[in-house]
Amino acid sequence: MSAPINTIQALNWALDDAMAADGSVILLGEEVADPEGGGIMKVSQGLSTKYGARVRSTPISEMAFTGAGVGAAIAGMRPVVEIMLMNFLAVCMDQITNHAAKLRFMSGGQTHVPMVIRTMTGSGFQTGGQHADFLEAWFCHTPGIKVAMPSNPADAYGLLRGAIEDEDPVLFVEHFPSYWNPGAPPARGKAIALGKARIAKAGKDVTLIGYSRSMHDILSVEKKLGADGVDCEVIDLRTVSPLDMETILTSVSKTGRAVVVHEAVRSFGVGAEVSARIHEALFRELRAPVERVASKDSPVPFAKQLENAYLYSHGDIEGAVRQTLKS
């Protein structure tokens, strides 16, 4: 068994291998080149030394360098643009939602934007209201862009390779508080195609659906429930848009119960969409309404006790599962 690695290493391998395999892959972002530190989290460390001008540190101009990614992609490059934190996507939203996502359609298929936007987020470090949001629902609500959200190092590698190979723009969201968590190493050279979920654990009583951070919590709660005799099936969505409904519906057809868990706020979120689609497809087969577990509908607060209360607890996940088991 190979030694475990963390997500930073996995992402670095993915970028390195993609750049070695395809000369059109370029990196743009604040501080991504080695003289500036090789990325704030060292994800791109060593790559500018190895690949030269293909790795460019940018000024703090998200609109300009995200738009530059769009233009370079139209011209045939495969840019990987790093937006340091997910909240900063708001600064360049126009380039992402009005341009990257729509140019294939608006041009009648004449141009397309095979660009990856890497970004990171997650609460827990008391960074307050503008540095920790999960905003994936904004982009899932925009036809034309895909959203991938890995939960472990091996998936981070495979999904990033898959995102870079994908012909559509991809928002690639990393959970930074778990960057250093060790995990099984990836199969280097192998991409994970977007749009397919993974059964993280098979079971028969209830389906737990998560992605990114919530997978850590789900897998922890699932063990406790298992000890109590509740056999959970766990799905890691991996790609939240487009959703792999086949995997979700196959599982919920079997269990008749589902709980969706995400760190993003509850209202109008991915959980709402997954829940609605399950209800639409399996209303008569469900044994209980689909439950959602998510963060409170507030900005991410600063003070530790507030930040803790903002995020769901393991007890919330367990409670939701037990609620579905009541009927």
């Binding site: 341009h99 397309h112 559509d168």
Partner: protein, 326 residues
């Protein structure tokens, strides 16, 4: 008109031919809108013909164009076939974008028309990326990005000028200053009189020209394009002009002082350039009439092509959203 470094007669006539195509197509778009045959928001560039006509004679199909909602003049000058534009506006399957883009999003990579945006200023970052791709590949092609005076007040303009200057990107930023940002005059919305001066803040060369004088525009563009092709980086060109048909068709223009409007009309660059060509014997009346007749016939053919083409199938809604259908 200045006579320094005058382009040869062939180039001068080529510029006129492009101006005629722009004007005659524009006239027909408006008449077709008024007749109810075309339904679309139309941002006429009547009055701004000189600028893209004089620039595009210096470009090839390999050079990239990024333009805006008021950009059909730029597209025609760059070489987008008018019949594909007409079919697009008429919502036909033969349109450049199969009727899925419309007047604000016409795209035609074969002629270098890579992006048309309906968002003020948003084309400039994308132009930087097109130019970056060319620079990384060691290509000689340049990118021309057009925008209005209003766009000089949006963040994307400033971010893009800075980025292009820092990376020495082969971009020519062309501000077609028509004095009004939608309904707001430049004096009310812009802190300086000359937008070209803003280039200095970004350590970028610039030029300010009368956008109604093709020779002046051509000269400024020639310097900028040569600089970009030679690896010398970007240039900001401000070409002052006027748009005669308001922000979009239906705009009655109450916000434009009558005197200003009349003076602008009197300086209409289209007849003025035509007269100049004749007076200076760069072309004969017969030559220009032939161009006009041929162009009018081309417009007739483009209109017929559009309206004879089948409407785009409704099933197109789910195509081209992603590379493969969801």
């Amino acid at each position: 008109m200045t006579n320094t470094e005058l382009p040869d007669a062939r180039t001068l006539v080529a510029i006129y031919r492009k101006m005629a195509a722009i004007k005659l197509n524009d006239d027909r778009f408006i008449s077709q809108i008024k007749a109810g045959r075309l339904v679309m928001p139309y941002y006429s560039a009547r009055g701004q013909e000189c600028i893209p006509a004089a620039i595009s004679v210096l470009l090839t199909d390999a050079d990239y164009l990024v333009t805006i909602y008021r950009g059909i003049h730029d597209m025609i000058a760059k070489g987008v076939p008018p019949k594909l534009i007409w079919a697009e506006l008429a919502g036909r399957s033969t349109g450049s974008c199969k009727g899925k883009g419309g007047p604000m999003h016409i795209t035609h990579p074969q002629s270098g028309c890579m992006v048309t945006t309906g968002v003020v200023g948003a084309g400039m970052p994308i132009a930087c990326g097109l130019a970056l791709a060319a620079q990384l590949r060691g290509e000689k092609r340049v990118t021309v990005t057009n925008f209005g005076d209003g766009a000089a007040n949006i963040g994307a303009f400033h971010e893009s000028l800075n980025l292009a200057a820092v990376w020495k990107l082969p971009v020519i930023f062309v501000c077609q200053n028509n004095r009004y940002a939608e309904h707001t005059s430049m004096a009310k919305g812009t802190s300086i009189e000359r937008i070209s001066e803003r280039a200095r803040s970004y350590n970028m060369p610039s030029a300010h020209v009368d956008g109604n004088e093709p020779v002046a525009v051509h000269q400024a563009a020639k310097i900028a394009i040569e600089r970009a092709r030679g690896g010398g980086g970007p240039t900001l060109i401000e070409a002052t002009t006027f748009r005669f048909n308001g922000h979009l068709i239906g705009d009655t223009g109450e916000y434009i002082p009558k005197q200003e409007y009349q003076a602008a009309l009197a300086a209409d660059p289209y007849p003025r350039y035509r007269n100049w060509l004749l007076q200076n014997k760069h072309a004969t009346a017969e030559e220009l009439s032939t161009i006009e007749t041929e162009t009018a016939a081309d417009v007739d053919a483009a209109v017929a092509f559009a309206f004879d083409s089948p409407l785009t199938e409704v099933s197109e809604i789910t195509r081209d959203v992603y590379a493969s259908p969801a």
